[in-house]
């Protein structure tokens, strides 16, 4: 892997983490003193992706704006890595008129048609539409692909199994990326899944499967490159399972009492580890990491300012957009 690629991966991960830290701050700022989920400028559920940046960065580095991505209830890192409009995404999270969905969708229902990005709050149900996008791409010009992100808990849902079979059967240019962050809310993988790795399920559906351990963005980048290239070449779908890390709770407000290893979790943060590797390899020179962080911070704060200045949707418009 060349230095530029690795630097780009680092930059995307830093932007993503900086973003999630800012949303964390904004989300909790006005829910004090006691946490009230419905209060404040960003009410509702919030599922943040801190720790899972390597998956998004490593996979989306191989994608072009005309490739499709479907993501989950925990979408921000994927959206950022795929180039979703950051200002409009933030305004959408804040429920404002200037948001991607004019405030109609919020954080779990982000749609950016310019980069063919969508996400859904229903577990595993983002997979079938990705098949359809791949189906349309296969019939059109070029070698566009669709990538469907999902979780290790979702891999036990019917939609997952139906989608894998149909994708392989019709040789659709789709890549399935399972983010195994160990926890389906509070249920660990070995309590939900009969086999140790979802990568082993791929063969049952007629496609290659690979598990990437260690939350290592370089390894993810390499594995994803193979899967995406395969799909672009018309060889059909592949399954990637990536062992990643959910740094924070399932949703904001989750006390995580069920998580025995909580004290060890910050030590497994992938970004400082990658920063150290790049510094030791001379890819990140003196001050470069800080410059990247400052740039990310500025970009994120600009997006938040844009969101806050965007109008709140007028109640009289509540019935718009039901039909085209």
């Amino acid at each position: 892997m060349d230095d530029k690629t690795r630097l780009d991966l680092y930059r995307v991960m830093v932007l993503s983490r900086t973003y999630e830290e800012a949303i964390l701050r904004e989300y909790h700022a006005d829910k004090k003193p006691a946490f009230d989920i419905g209060a404040g400028l960003v009410p509702g559920e919030m599922h943040l992706s801190a720790g899972q940046e390597p998956v998004a960065a490593g996979v989306c580095a191989h994608l072009r704006p005309e490739d499709a991505v479907t993501a989950t209830h925990r979408p921000h890192h994927v959206a950022i890595a795929h180039g979703v409009d950051l200002d409009k995404m933030t305004a959408e999270i804040f429920g404002r008129e200037g948001g991607l969905g004019h405030g109609r969708g919020g954080h779990m229902h982000l749609f950016d048609p310019h980069v063919h990005f969508s996400c859904s709050g229903i577990i595993a149900e983002g997979l079938p539409p990705a098949l359809g996008q791949a189906f349309a791409f296969k019939r059109g010009e070029g070698d566009r692909v669709a990538v469907a992100f999902t979780g290790e808990g979702a891999a036990n849902q019917g939609a997952f199994h139906e989608s894998l079979n149909l994708a392989a059967l019709w040789k659709l240019p789709v890549v399935f990326v399972v983010e195994d962050n160990d926890w389906a809310i509070s249920v660990p993988r070995d309590v939900s899944t009969a086999i140790p790795s979802n990568a082993d399920r791929a063969a049952a559906y007629g496609m290659p499967g690979q598990r990437v351990g260690d939350n290592d963005v370089d390894a993810i980048y390499t594995a994803a490159g193979d899967a995406v290239a395969r799909a672009r070449a018309g060889e059909g779908p592949a399954l990637l399972e990536i062992h990643t890390l959910r740094l924070w709770g399932h949703f904001e407000g989750d006390p995580q009492a069920y998580r025995p290893e909580l004290a060890d979790v910050p030590g497994r943060d992938p970004i400082p580890a990658y920063e150290q590797r790049l510094t030791e390899a001379g890819v990140l020179g003196a001050g470069a990491a800080q410059a990247i962080k400052d740039e990310a911070s500025a970009r994120v704060e600009k997006a938040i300012a844009f969101a806050k200045s965007s109008p709140v949707p007028a109640p009289e418009t509540a019935l718009e957009y039901v039909f085209a």
Binding site: F111, A159, Y321
Partner: protein, 352 residues
């Protein structure tokens, strides 16, 4: 149709050669003409290819357009309906068949949480121009899990249009409109109106269908029979039964019924219903779906919230009385909205 146009008994305009088709063939013709016009129209579902659809809705399409455009799917409704959604998002116009409306349980998330909501959630930025067809209805002893109508359930959930043709000409026109519509359209066809050779058929299932492609407006009811004594609001196979009852009661009892064929549930043509009820003052709703919490209650509510004074008598409804559809013929015929039940309800309505 205006009073100045003359038509044959089967519906052809004067000067136009009569061309009779079954509802099933009319649907397939509508799909075929749109497939000719627009390469983005594809057909997906179980047995839609060589079999032509279990109820004939896609007959002849595979032979004409090939397996690249008419695709038999595995038994994976969530996957293939979701595939239709994704293809529609990327600009195609899929026609996806759910074999029986009763099967919606296995794939309802893709239908009501995705197909119906994506346009709204995206603030209008993403369209889902797909048609979801499904066979519905009973009367031939297919029992609880294969005889339901369920259009009320789909109509209740925001974000999808719902159309229910009763006759061949409307079936073709509504299919063409549905395919051309940029919104998701649930297209429900009653097996009993399809004119299938292997099921008892009402003669109204075979009628004139214009040869050219044409659109029947979604959201507009049709006055199937003009009358003065009472308004029967209904849809689908019940239109055939209501017309049969109307003919009989005109001869036998001198009763003149107006029959409104809703054709669409979403959008619902409230105006046509209200203007009819305003003239007749008496309302009977006939709905083969379950009685409570559905279409018949909705019609009643729309009349009542406009002006309950429009009604000279309490309204009546004939629907399936909140019971699963039984297998035994004697029981099934007791719960479906048969002509006998409709006739009895009209008598009841007129004497009140």
């Amino acid at each position: 149709m205006s009073a100045t146009e003359t038509t044959t008994a089967s519906g052809a305009q004067a000067g136009q050669a009569e061309r009779r088709l079954t509802t099933a063939r009319a649907i397939a013709e509508g799909i075929a003409q749109e497939m000719e016009r627009d390469p983005g129209v594809v057909v997906l579902g179980e047995d839609v290819g060589a079999y032509g659809g279990i109820f004939g809705a896609t007959g002849g399409l595979l032979e004409r357009f090939g397996p690249d455009r008419v695709l038999d799917t595995p038994i994976s409704e969530t996957a293939f309906i979701g595939l239709g959604i994704g293809a529609a998002v990327e600009g195609m116009r899929p026609v996806v068949e759910l074999m029986f409306a009763d099967f919606f349980g296995v794939c309802m998330d893709q239908i009501y949480n995705h197909m119906a909501k994506i346009h709204f959630e995206s603030g209008g930025n993403v369209k889902v121009p797909m048609v979801l067809t499904m066979a519905a209805g009973g009367g031939y002893s297919d029992a609880e899990q294969h005889s339901q109508c369920l259009w009320g359930t789909f109509a209740h959930l925001p974000g999808m249009k719902v159309v229910v043709p009763s006759n061949p000409a409307d079936a073709k026109g509504l299919m063409i409109s549905a395919i051309r519509d940029d919104n998701p359209v649930v297209y429900v066809f009653h097996k009993g109106v399809m004119g299938l050779p292997w099921m008892a058929k009402n003669p109204r299932s075979i009628a004139h269908v214009p040869e050219e492609a044409y659109e029947t407006p979604i959201g507009k009811a049709a006055v199937a029979r003009e009358g003065t004594d009472a308004t029967v609001v209904t849809l689908s196979l019940s239109v055939h039964h209501a017309l049969d009852v109307a003919d009989k009661m005109a001869k036998q009892d001198g009763v003149d019924l107006e029959v409104i064929d809703l054709r669409s549930l979403v959008p619902l043509d409230t105006e046509t219903v209200l203007s009819s009820v305003a003239r007749t003052g008496r309302l009977l709703v006939v709905d083969e779906d379950y009685q409570s919490f559905g279409l018949s209650g909705e019609i009643a509510a729309r009349v009542a919230e406009t002006d309950p004074g429009l009604l000279r008598a309490p309204l009546r409804r004939v629907a399936v009385p909140d019971v699963p559809i039984p297998y035994a013929r004697s029981l099934e015929q007791a719960v479906l909205p048969t002509p006998d039940r409709i006739e009895a309800a009209v008598h009841d309505l007129l004497k009140a």
